[in-house]
Amino acid sequence: MITKYRAILRMKYVEMFSYQLSTMVWMFGTMIQPLITMMVWMNIYPDQGDSFILYFISLIMVERLTSAWDVWEMDRQIREGTFSYQIVRPFHPIHWAIAENIVYKGLFLVILVPSWIILSIFIPSLQLHLSFSQWGLFIAALLLGAIIRFAFSFMFGILGFWMTKVTAVYATFETVSLFISGRIAPFSLLPPLVKKISTFLPYRYMIGFPLEILTETADRQTLLVGFIGSSIWTVLLIVAIVWLWKAGLKKNQAVGG
Protein backbone atom coordinates (compact mmCIF):
# COMPACT_ATOMS: atom_id res chain seq x y z
CA MET A 1 0.00 0.00 0.00
CA ILE A 2 2.77 2.43 0.90
CA THR A 3 4.63 1.80 -2.34
CA LYS A 4 1.42 2.39 -4.25
CA TYR A 5 0.87 5.66 -2.43
CA ARG A 6 4.42 6.66 -3.08
CA ALA A 7 3.97 6.09 -6.79
CA ILE A 8 0.72 8.02 -6.97
CA LEU A 9 2.01 10.86 -4.79
CA ARG A 10 5.00 11.17 -7.05
CA MET A 11 2.79 11.26 -10.12
CA LYS A 12 0.49 13.91 -8.62
CA TYR A 13 3.56 15.92 -7.66
CA VAL A 14 4.86 15.84 -11.24
CA GLU A 15 1.41 16.66 -12.55
CA MET A 16 1.14 19.65 -10.23
CA PHE A 17 4.06 21.29 -11.98
CA SER A 18 2.26 21.39 -15.27
CA TYR A 19 -0.58 23.25 -13.57
CA GLN A 20 1.56 25.95 -11.95
CA LEU A 21 -0.19 28.98 -13.38
CA SER A 22 -3.61 27.50 -12.88
CA THR A 23 -2.87 26.56 -9.27
CA MET A 24 -1.53 30.01 -8.45
CA VAL A 25 -4.55 31.74 -9.96
CA TRP A 26 -6.91 29.54 -7.98
CA MET A 27 -4.98 29.96 -4.78
CA PHE A 28 -4.83 33.73 -4.93
CA GLY A 29 -8.30 34.08 -6.35
CA THR A 30 -9.86 32.33 -3.39
CA MET A 31 -8.19 34.82 -1.09
CA ILE A 32 -10.11 37.76 -2.47
CA GLN A 33 -13.51 37.05 -0.96
CA PRO A 34 -12.13 36.67 2.61
CA LEU A 35 -10.07 39.82 2.18
CA ILE A 36 -13.04 41.83 0.98
CA THR A 37 -15.11 40.49 3.86
CA MET A 38 -12.32 41.48 6.22
CA MET A 39 -12.42 45.02 4.93
CA VAL A 40 -16.16 45.17 5.41
CA TRP A 41 -15.76 44.18 9.05
CA MET A 42 -12.92 46.60 9.58
CA ASN A 43 -15.23 49.24 8.25
CA ILE A 44 -17.93 48.27 10.72
CA TYR A 45 -15.69 47.98 13.77
CA PRO A 46 -12.59 50.02 12.99
CA ASP A 47 -11.17 49.64 16.47
CA GLN A 48 -11.05 45.87 16.21
CA GLY A 49 -8.98 46.00 13.05
CA ASP A 50 -6.16 43.87 14.45
CA SER A 51 -8.30 40.97 15.52
CA PHE A 52 -10.11 40.97 12.19
CA ILE A 53 -6.81 40.85 10.34
CA LEU A 54 -5.72 37.90 12.41
CA TYR A 55 -9.07 36.20 11.97
CA PHE A 56 -9.29 36.51 8.24
CA ILE A 57 -5.69 35.71 7.43
CA SER A 58 -6.05 32.63 9.62
CA LEU A 59 -9.27 31.89 7.75
CA ILE A 60 -7.46 31.96 4.42
CA MET A 61 -4.86 29.60 5.81
CA VAL A 62 -7.34 27.14 7.28
CA GLU A 63 -9.63 27.31 4.26
CA ARG A 64 -6.84 26.52 1.82
CA LEU A 65 -5.47 23.74 3.98
CA THR A 66 -8.87 22.05 4.11
CA SER A 67 -10.02 22.73 0.55
CA ALA A 68 -11.17 19.84 -1.60
CA TRP A 69 -12.25 19.83 -5.23
CA ASP A 70 -12.67 16.13 -5.89
CA VAL A 71 -16.30 16.48 -6.86
CA TRP A 72 -15.34 18.35 -10.03
CA GLU A 73 -12.71 15.78 -10.97
CA MET A 74 -15.04 12.85 -10.47
CA ASP A 75 -17.92 14.52 -12.25
CA ARG A 76 -15.71 15.16 -15.25
CA GLN A 77 -14.41 11.60 -15.30
CA ILE A 78 -17.86 10.09 -15.04
CA ARG A 79 -19.17 12.31 -17.83
CA GLU A 80 -16.20 11.60 -20.10
CA GLY A 81 -16.39 7.89 -19.49
CA THR A 82 -12.83 7.68 -18.22
CA PHE A 83 -13.99 6.78 -14.73
CA SER A 84 -14.30 3.23 -16.03
CA TYR A 85 -10.52 3.07 -16.02
CA GLN A 86 -10.53 3.86 -12.31
CA ILE A 87 -12.98 1.05 -11.63
CA VAL A 88 -11.09 -1.46 -13.72
CA ARG A 89 -7.80 -0.87 -11.87
CA PRO A 90 -7.09 -3.00 -8.81
CA PHE A 91 -6.82 0.10 -6.62
CA HIS A 92 -9.62 2.08 -5.03
CA PRO A 93 -10.17 5.48 -6.71
CA ILE A 94 -10.34 7.20 -3.35
CA HIS A 95 -6.60 6.81 -3.02
CA TRP A 96 -6.06 8.95 -6.10
CA ALA A 97 -8.23 11.65 -4.56
CA ILE A 98 -6.45 11.43 -1.23
CA ALA A 99 -3.05 11.59 -2.92
CA GLU A 100 -4.03 14.67 -4.90
CA ASN A 101 -5.30 16.36 -1.76
CA ILE A 102 -2.08 15.60 0.11
CA VAL A 103 0.10 16.96 -2.65
CA TYR A 104 -1.79 20.22 -3.06
CA LYS A 105 -2.20 20.82 0.65
CA GLY A 106 1.53 20.29 0.90
CA LEU A 107 2.04 22.95 -1.73
CA PHE A 108 -0.26 25.40 0.04
CA LEU A 109 1.57 24.75 3.29
CA VAL A 110 4.92 25.42 1.68
CA ILE A 111 3.70 28.69 0.20
CA LEU A 112 1.43 29.98 2.95
CA VAL A 113 3.46 29.31 6.09
CA PRO A 114 6.56 31.29 5.01
CA SER A 115 4.27 34.02 3.63
CA TRP A 116 2.56 34.25 6.98
CA ILE A 117 5.85 34.48 8.79
CA ILE A 118 7.01 37.28 6.51
CA LEU A 119 3.69 39.10 6.80
CA SER A 120 3.81 38.88 10.57
CA ILE A 121 7.01 40.89 10.56
CA PHE A 122 5.08 43.84 9.17
CA ILE A 123 1.75 43.17 10.83
CA PRO A 124 2.32 42.46 14.52
CA SER A 125 -1.22 41.22 15.09
CA LEU A 126 -0.31 38.22 12.98
CA GLN A 127 2.37 37.08 15.33
CA LEU A 128 1.11 33.97 17.01
CA HIS A 129 1.99 32.96 20.52
CA LEU A 130 0.45 29.56 20.85
CA SER A 131 1.70 27.05 23.36
CA PHE A 132 2.91 23.62 22.35
CA SER A 133 -0.34 21.99 23.38
CA GLN A 134 -2.36 24.63 21.57
CA TRP A 135 -0.46 23.92 18.36
CA GLY A 136 -1.13 20.23 18.88
CA LEU A 137 -4.83 20.86 19.32
CA PHE A 138 -4.87 23.09 16.26
CA ILE A 139 -3.19 20.50 14.08
CA ALA A 140 -5.56 17.82 15.31
CA ALA A 141 -8.60 20.00 14.61
CA LEU A 142 -7.19 21.00 11.22
CA LEU A 143 -6.65 17.39 10.27
CA LEU A 144 -10.19 16.44 11.25
CA GLY A 145 -11.52 19.47 9.39
CA ALA A 146 -9.60 18.51 6.27
CA ILE A 147 -10.86 14.95 6.45
CA ILE A 148 -14.46 16.09 6.89
CA ARG A 149 -14.27 18.52 4.01
CA PHE A 150 -12.59 15.95 1.78
CA ALA A 151 -15.14 13.34 2.77
CA PHE A 152 -18.00 15.60 1.72
CA SER A 153 -16.30 16.41 -1.55
CA PHE A 154 -15.70 12.75 -2.36
CA MET A 155 -19.19 11.80 -1.25
CA PHE A 156 -20.73 14.31 -3.60
CA GLY A 157 -18.45 12.90 -6.28
CA ILE A 158 -19.95 9.47 -5.72
CA LEU A 159 -23.41 11.03 -6.00
CA GLY A 160 -22.36 11.82 -9.56
CA PHE A 161 -23.33 8.25 -10.34
CA TRP A 162 -26.93 9.26 -9.74
CA MET A 163 -27.09 12.98 -10.51
CA THR A 164 -25.85 14.92 -13.48
CA LYS A 165 -25.74 18.32 -11.82
CA VAL A 166 -23.89 17.21 -8.74
CA THR A 167 -21.36 20.06 -9.00
CA ALA A 168 -24.19 22.57 -8.78
CA VAL A 169 -25.53 20.89 -5.67
CA TYR A 170 -22.07 20.86 -4.13
CA ALA A 171 -21.68 24.55 -4.94
CA THR A 172 -24.90 25.16 -3.00
CA PHE A 173 -23.51 23.11 -0.12
CA GLU A 174 -20.35 25.21 -0.10
CA THR A 175 -22.37 28.41 -0.24
CA VAL A 176 -24.13 27.50 2.98
CA SER A 177 -20.65 26.89 4.34
CA LEU A 178 -19.88 30.55 3.70
CA PHE A 179 -22.27 31.50 6.43
CA ILE A 180 -21.84 28.84 8.99
CA SER A 181 -18.18 27.92 8.86
CA GLY A 182 -17.11 31.42 9.71
CA ARG A 183 -16.24 32.74 6.30
CA ILE A 184 -18.60 35.69 6.25
CA ALA A 185 -18.38 36.53 9.90
CA PRO A 186 -16.52 35.36 12.97
CA PHE A 187 -18.71 33.03 14.91
CA SER A 188 -19.36 35.44 17.72
CA LEU A 189 -20.81 38.01 15.35
CA LEU A 190 -23.40 35.69 13.85
CA PRO A 191 -27.09 35.96 14.73
CA PRO A 192 -28.03 33.56 17.58
CA LEU A 193 -30.15 31.27 15.44
CA VAL A 194 -27.26 30.65 13.10
CA LYS A 195 -24.99 29.95 16.06
CA LYS A 196 -27.40 27.33 17.35
CA ILE A 197 -27.70 25.30 14.18
CA SER A 198 -23.98 25.40 13.50
CA THR A 199 -23.24 23.03 16.35
CA PHE A 200 -25.06 20.24 14.57
CA LEU A 201 -24.00 20.90 11.05
CA PRO A 202 -20.54 19.87 9.89
CA TYR A 203 -19.51 23.27 8.56
CA ARG A 204 -18.12 24.68 11.73
CA TYR A 205 -15.92 21.65 12.22
CA MET A 206 -14.50 21.99 8.74
CA ILE A 207 -13.13 25.48 9.09
CA GLY A 208 -14.55 27.41 12.02
CA PHE A 209 -13.30 25.16 14.78
CA PRO A 210 -9.60 24.92 13.81
CA LEU A 211 -9.79 28.64 13.14
CA GLU A 212 -10.96 29.37 16.64
CA ILE A 213 -8.10 27.39 18.13
CA LEU A 214 -5.58 29.22 15.98
CA THR A 215 -6.90 32.64 16.93
CA GLU A 216 -6.99 31.59 20.58
CA THR A 217 -10.70 32.26 20.89
CA ALA A 218 -11.58 28.72 21.89
CA ASP A 219 -12.41 28.08 25.50
CA ARG A 220 -12.60 24.69 27.20
CA GLN A 221 -16.20 24.11 26.29
CA THR A 222 -15.63 25.03 22.68
CA LEU A 223 -12.71 22.61 22.54
CA LEU A 224 -14.78 19.81 23.99
CA VAL A 225 -17.77 20.36 21.75
CA GLY A 226 -15.46 20.91 18.82
CA PHE A 227 -13.54 17.69 19.10
CA ILE A 228 -16.55 15.58 19.90
CA GLY A 229 -18.48 17.08 16.99
CA SER A 230 -15.57 16.67 14.57
CA SER A 231 -15.01 13.08 15.57
CA ILE A 232 -18.66 12.17 15.23
CA TRP A 233 -18.86 13.75 11.81
CA THR A 234 -15.64 12.06 10.69
CA VAL A 235 -16.92 8.63 11.66
CA LEU A 236 -20.34 9.28 10.13
CA LEU A 237 -18.80 10.39 6.86
CA ILE A 238 -16.40 7.47 6.60
CA VAL A 239 -19.29 5.06 7.09
CA ALA A 240 -21.36 7.01 4.59
CA ILE A 241 -18.61 6.86 1.97
CA VAL A 242 -18.07 3.14 2.35
CA TRP A 243 -21.77 2.48 2.02
CA LEU A 244 -22.35 5.03 -0.73
CA TRP A 245 -19.44 3.74 -2.78
CA LYS A 246 -20.85 0.22 -2.77
CA ALA A 247 -24.26 1.55 -3.75
CA GLY A 248 -22.77 3.82 -6.38
CA LEU A 249 -20.77 1.03 -7.94
CA LYS A 250 -23.91 -1.08 -8.07
CA LYS A 251 -25.81 1.75 -9.68
CA ASN A 252 -23.01 2.23 -12.17
CA GLN A 253 -23.03 -1.46 -12.90
CA ALA A 254 -26.75 -1.35 -13.49
CA VAL A 255 -26.82 1.64 -15.75
CA GLY A 256 -23.25 2.07 -16.86
CA GLY A 257 -21.12 5.01 -17.82
Binding site: G29, I32, T175, F179
Partner: protein
Protein backbone atom coordinates in the same frame (compact mmCIF):
# COMPACT_ATOMS: atom_id res chain seq x y z
CA UNK B 1 -24.23 49.09 -36.73
CA UNK B 2 -27.75 47.99 -37.62
CA UNK B 3 -26.30 44.94 -39.27
CA UNK B 4 -24.59 43.93 -36.06
CA UNK B 5 -27.81 44.36 -34.15
CA UNK B 6 -29.47 42.04 -36.61
CA UNK B 7 -26.70 39.46 -36.26
CA UNK B 8 -26.98 39.69 -32.49
CA UNK B 9 -30.70 39.07 -32.73
CA UNK B 10 -29.91 35.96 -34.76
CA UNK B 11 -27.51 34.71 -32.07
CA UNK B 12 -30.26 35.46 -29.56
CA UNK B 13 -32.86 33.48 -31.46
CA UNK B 14 -30.64 30.46 -32.14
CA UNK B 15 -29.47 30.13 -28.57
CA UNK B 16 -32.99 30.57 -27.23
CA UNK B 17 -34.28 27.74 -29.38
CA UNK B 18 -31.39 25.52 -28.29
CA UNK B 19 -32.01 26.25 -24.66
CA UNK B 20 -35.75 25.70 -24.80
CA UNK B 21 -34.99 22.12 -25.74
CA UNK B 22 -34.18 21.52 -22.11
CA UNK B 23 -37.14 22.83 -20.22
CA UNK B 24 -36.70 20.88 -17.02
CA UNK B 25 -33.23 22.33 -16.72
CA UNK B 26 -34.74 25.77 -16.87
CA UNK B 27 -36.71 25.18 -13.70
CA UNK B 28 -33.58 23.98 -11.91
CA UNK B 29 -31.79 27.11 -13.09
CA UNK B 30 -34.59 29.31 -11.82
CA UNK B 31 -34.15 27.90 -8.35
CA UNK B 32 -30.42 28.28 -8.61
CA UNK B 33 -30.71 31.99 -9.45
CA UNK B 34 -33.20 32.60 -6.66
CA UNK B 35 -30.95 30.83 -4.21
CA UNK B 36 -28.03 32.91 -5.37
CA UNK B 37 -29.65 36.25 -4.82
CA UNK B 38 -31.17 35.22 -1.50
CA UNK B 39 -27.71 34.20 -0.30
CA UNK B 40 -26.31 37.57 -1.37
CA UNK B 41 -28.99 39.43 0.52
CA UNK B 42 -28.51 37.27 3.60
CA UNK B 43 -24.81 38.02 3.50
CA UNK B 44 -25.48 41.72 3.57
CA UNK B 45 -27.97 41.21 6.37
CA UNK B 46 -25.34 39.51 8.48
CA UNK B 47 -23.23 42.63 8.20
CA UNK B 48 -26.15 44.88 8.94
CA UNK B 49 -26.94 42.81 12.00
CA UNK B 50 -23.95 44.52 13.53
CA UNK B 51 -24.15 47.97 12.00
CA UNK B 52 -26.46 50.31 10.17
CA UNK B 53 -24.18 51.61 7.50
CA UNK B 54 -21.44 50.28 5.27
CA UNK B 55 -18.94 52.77 3.90
CA UNK B 56 -21.48 55.47 4.59
CA UNK B 57 -24.25 53.64 2.79
CA UNK B 58 -27.48 52.51 4.47
CA UNK B 59 -29.07 49.10 4.02
CA UNK B 60 -31.44 50.01 1.16
CA UNK B 61 -28.60 51.71 -0.68
CA UNK B 62 -26.42 48.64 -0.35
CA UNK B 63 -29.31 46.55 -1.67
CA UNK B 64 -29.54 48.78 -4.73
CA UNK B 65 -25.81 48.36 -5.29
CA UNK B 66 -26.22 44.62 -4.87
CA UNK B 67 -29.06 44.67 -7.40
CA UNK B 68 -26.83 46.39 -9.94
CA UNK B 69 -24.07 43.90 -9.14
CA UNK B 70 -26.42 40.98 -9.73
CA UNK B 71 -27.68 42.45 -12.98
CA UNK B 72 -24.20 43.05 -14.34
CA UNK B 73 -23.04 39.62 -13.22
CA UNK B 74 -26.11 38.13 -14.89
CA UNK B 75 -25.23 39.87 -18.14
CA UNK B 76 -21.65 38.62 -17.96
CA UNK B 77 -22.89 35.08 -17.40
CA UNK B 78 -25.49 35.48 -20.12
CA UNK B 79 -23.29 36.76 -22.92
CA UNK B 80 -19.59 36.76 -22.11
CA UNK B 81 -18.76 33.78 -19.96
CA UNK B 82 -20.21 31.09 -22.29
CA UNK B 83 -17.93 32.21 -25.08
CA UNK B 84 -14.64 31.90 -23.30
CA UNK B 85 -14.30 28.10 -23.41
CA UNK B 86 -15.42 28.12 -27.03
CA UNK B 87 -12.69 30.53 -28.01
CA UNK B 88 -10.17 28.32 -26.32
CA UNK B 89 -11.52 25.30 -28.15
CA UNK B 90 -11.34 27.19 -31.43
CA UNK B 91 -7.72 28.09 -30.82
CA UNK B 92 -6.78 24.60 -29.75
CA UNK B 93 -8.61 22.83 -32.55
CA UNK B 94 -7.60 25.33 -35.17
CA UNK B 95 -11.22 26.08 -36.02
CA UNK B 96 -10.74 29.78 -35.35
CA UNK B 97 -9.95 30.07 -39.03
CA UNK B 98 -13.61 29.39 -39.82
CA UNK B 99 -14.57 32.36 -37.70
CA UNK B 100 -11.94 34.56 -39.28
CA UNK B 101 -13.19 33.90 -42.77
CA UNK B 102 -16.73 34.94 -41.93
CA UNK B 103 -17.75 38.43 -43.03
CA UNK B 104 -18.36 39.47 -39.45
CA UNK B 105 -16.05 41.25 -37.09
CA UNK B 106 -14.18 38.45 -35.34
CA UNK B 107 -14.12 40.05 -31.90
CA UNK B 108 -17.88 40.56 -31.99
CA UNK B 109 -18.50 37.00 -33.13
CA UNK B 110 -16.13 35.33 -30.72
CA UNK B 111 -17.44 37.20 -27.71
CA UNK B 112 -21.17 37.08 -28.28
CA UNK B 113 -21.94 33.99 -30.33
CA UNK B 114 -23.24 31.86 -27.50
CA UNK B 115 -25.81 33.11 -25.06
CA UNK B 116 -27.08 31.35 -21.97
CA UNK B 117 -30.66 32.42 -21.53
CA UNK B 118 -31.51 31.42 -18.05
CA UNK B 119 -28.92 33.87 -16.76
CA UNK B 120 -31.35 36.59 -17.72
CA UNK B 121 -33.23 35.50 -14.61
CA UNK B 122 -30.31 36.92 -12.64
CA UNK B 123 -30.71 40.17 -14.55
CA UNK B 124 -34.42 40.30 -13.76
CA UNK B 125 -33.83 39.46 -10.10
CA UNK B 126 -31.18 42.17 -9.95
CA UNK B 127 -33.56 44.73 -11.36
CA UNK B 128 -36.17 43.53 -8.89
CA UNK B 129 -33.72 44.07 -6.06
CA UNK B 130 -32.97 47.58 -7.26
CA UNK B 131 -36.66 48.42 -7.27
CA UNK B 132 -37.09 46.86 -3.83
CA UNK B 133 -34.20 48.93 -2.49
CA UNK B 134 -35.72 52.11 -3.87
CA UNK B 135 -39.06 51.23 -2.30
CA UNK B 136 -37.39 50.59 1.08
CA UNK B 137 -35.71 53.91 0.78
CA UNK B 138 -38.98 55.63 -0.13
CA UNK B 139 -37.07 57.26 -2.94
CA UNK B 140 -38.08 57.86 -6.53
CA UNK B 141 -35.13 58.81 -8.70
CA UNK B 142 -35.58 62.00 -10.68
CA UNK B 143 -35.22 62.11 -14.44
CA UNK B 144 -31.75 63.52 -14.02
CA UNK B 145 -30.82 60.70 -11.65
CA UNK B 146 -32.01 58.14 -14.15
CA UNK B 147 -30.18 59.91 -16.94
CA UNK B 148 -26.87 59.81 -15.11
CA UNK B 149 -27.59 56.26 -14.10
CA UNK B 150 -28.11 55.17 -17.69
CA UNK B 151 -24.94 56.86 -18.87
CA UNK B 152 -22.85 55.31 -16.13
CA UNK B 153 -24.40 51.88 -16.66
CA UNK B 154 -23.52 52.01 -20.33
CA UNK B 155 -19.99 53.00 -19.37
CA UNK B 156 -19.92 50.12 -16.88
CA UNK B 157 -21.05 47.63 -19.50
CA UNK B 158 -18.42 48.84 -21.91
CA UNK B 159 -15.70 48.61 -19.27
CA UNK B 160 -16.79 45.09 -18.32
CA UNK B 161 -16.81 44.02 -21.95
CA UNK B 162 -13.36 45.49 -22.51
CA UNK B 163 -11.84 43.95 -19.40
CA UNK B 164 -13.36 40.63 -20.29
CA UNK B 165 -12.05 40.83 -23.86
CA UNK B 166 -8.58 41.72 -22.63
CA UNK B 167 -8.68 38.64 -20.46
CA UNK B 168 -10.10 36.44 -23.19
CA UNK B 169 -7.48 37.56 -25.68
CA UNK B 170 -4.74 36.19 -23.44
CA UNK B 171 -6.19 32.77 -24.31
CA UNK B 172 -3.99 32.88 -27.37
CA UNK B 173 -0.99 32.47 -25.10
CA UNK B 174 -2.35 30.85 -21.99
CA UNK B 175 -3.88 27.41 -22.38
CA UNK B 176 -6.16 26.92 -19.41
CA UNK B 177 -9.47 28.67 -19.55
CA UNK B 178 -10.91 28.00 -16.11
CA UNK B 179 -8.43 30.33 -14.50
CA UNK B 180 -9.10 33.24 -16.79
CA UNK B 181 -12.80 33.14 -16.03
CA UNK B 182 -12.07 32.84 -12.34
CA UNK B 183 -9.72 35.84 -12.45
CA UNK B 184 -12.52 38.01 -13.72
CA UNK B 185 -14.94 36.71 -11.09
CA UNK B 186 -12.42 37.40 -8.33
CA UNK B 187 -11.91 40.94 -9.55
CA UNK B 188 -15.62 41.49 -10.01
CA UNK B 189 -16.27 40.49 -6.40
CA UNK B 190 -14.66 43.76 -5.32
CA UNK B 191 -17.60 45.65 -6.79
CA UNK B 192 -20.12 43.95 -4.56
CA UNK B 193 -19.81 46.59 -1.85
CA UNK B 194 -19.61 50.39 -1.90
CA UNK B 195 -16.17 51.53 -2.89
CA UNK B 196 -16.15 53.94 0.02
CA UNK B 197 -15.62 50.92 2.17
CA UNK B 198 -12.10 50.44 0.89
CA UNK B 199 -9.41 52.68 2.25
CA UNK B 200 -6.32 54.33 0.97
CA UNK B 201 -4.25 52.78 -1.78
CA UNK B 202 -6.72 49.97 -2.37
CA UNK B 203 -9.48 52.45 -3.15
CA UNK B 204 -7.17 54.32 -5.49
CA UNK B 205 -6.23 51.08 -7.23
CA UNK B 206 -9.84 50.08 -7.60
CA UNK B 207 -10.69 53.44 -9.11
CA UNK B 208 -7.77 54.28 -11.34
CA UNK B 209 -6.00 51.04 -12.15
CA UNK B 210 -8.79 48.51 -12.40
CA UNK B 211 -11.89 50.68 -12.63
CA UNK B 212 -14.05 48.68 -10.27
CA UNK B 213 -15.52 51.87 -8.87
CA UNK B 214 -17.23 52.71 -12.12
CA UNK B 215 -18.93 49.37 -12.42
CA UNK B 216 -21.44 49.32 -9.59
CA UNK B 217 -20.68 52.28 -7.36
CA UNK B 218 -21.05 55.08 -9.89
CA UNK B 219 -24.35 53.83 -11.36
CA UNK B 220 -25.72 53.10 -7.90
CA UNK B 221 -24.72 56.56 -6.67
CA UNK B 222 -26.49 58.13 -9.63
CA UNK B 223 -29.65 56.21 -9.02
CA UNK B 224 -29.90 57.27 -5.40
CA UNK B 225 -29.40 60.86 -6.35
CA UNK B 226 -25.74 61.18 -5.41
CA UNK B 227 -24.48 61.50 -8.93
CA UNK B 228 -21.37 63.45 -9.82
CA UNK B 229 -20.99 64.95 -13.27
CA UNK B 230 -17.23 64.69 -13.25
CA UNK B 231 -17.22 61.07 -12.19
CA UNK B 232 -19.80 60.12 -14.80
CA UNK B 233 -17.79 61.77 -17.54
CA UNK B 234 -14.66 60.08 -16.22
CA UNK B 235 -16.41 56.71 -16.38
CA UNK B 236 -17.25 57.29 -20.03
CA UNK B 237 -13.70 58.29 -20.82
CA UNK B 238 -12.33 55.25 -19.02
CA UNK B 239 -14.81 53.05 -20.88
CA UNK B 240 -13.70 54.34 -24.26
CA UNK B 241 -10.03 54.00 -23.36
CA UNK B 242 -10.45 50.42 -22.20
CA UNK B 243 -12.48 49.50 -25.24
CA UNK B 244 -9.77 50.92 -27.48
CA UNK B 245 -7.16 48.92 -25.55
CA UNK B 246 -9.20 45.73 -25.84
CA UNK B 247 -9.65 46.18 -29.56
CA UNK B 248 -5.98 46.83 -30.18
CA UNK B 249 -4.96 43.86 -28.11
CA UNK B 250 -7.38 41.63 -30.01
CA UNK B 251 -6.05 42.80 -33.36
CA UNK B 252 -2.51 42.26 -32.13
CA UNK B 253 -3.28 38.74 -30.96
CA UNK B 254 -4.97 37.88 -34.24
CA UNK B 255 -2.06 39.17 -36.27
CA UNK B 256 0.23 37.02 -34.20
CA UNK B 257 -2.03 34.01 -34.54
CA UNK B 258 -2.55 34.14 -38.28
CA UNK B 259 1.11 34.59 -39.02
CA UNK B 260 2.14 31.68 -36.87
CA UNK B 261 -0.69 29.17 -37.14
CA UNK B 262 0.12 25.83 -38.66
Amino acid sequence: MRRYWRIFKEFFRTCLVEELEYRSEFIGNLFSSLFGIIVSILMVQIFFYQTDQLGGWAFPDVLILLGIFNTLQGLVDFALRPNMPRLLLHIRMGTLDYVLTKPVDSMFFVSLRHLVFWRLIDVLLGIGLIIYGLVQKHFIPSLLDVGFFLISIIAALLIIYSLWMLLMTTAFWVIRMDDLSFLFSSFFETTRFPITMYKGWLRLALTYVLPAAFLTFTPASSLIGKWNGGTTVASLVVAVVFFWLARRFWKFALANYTSASS
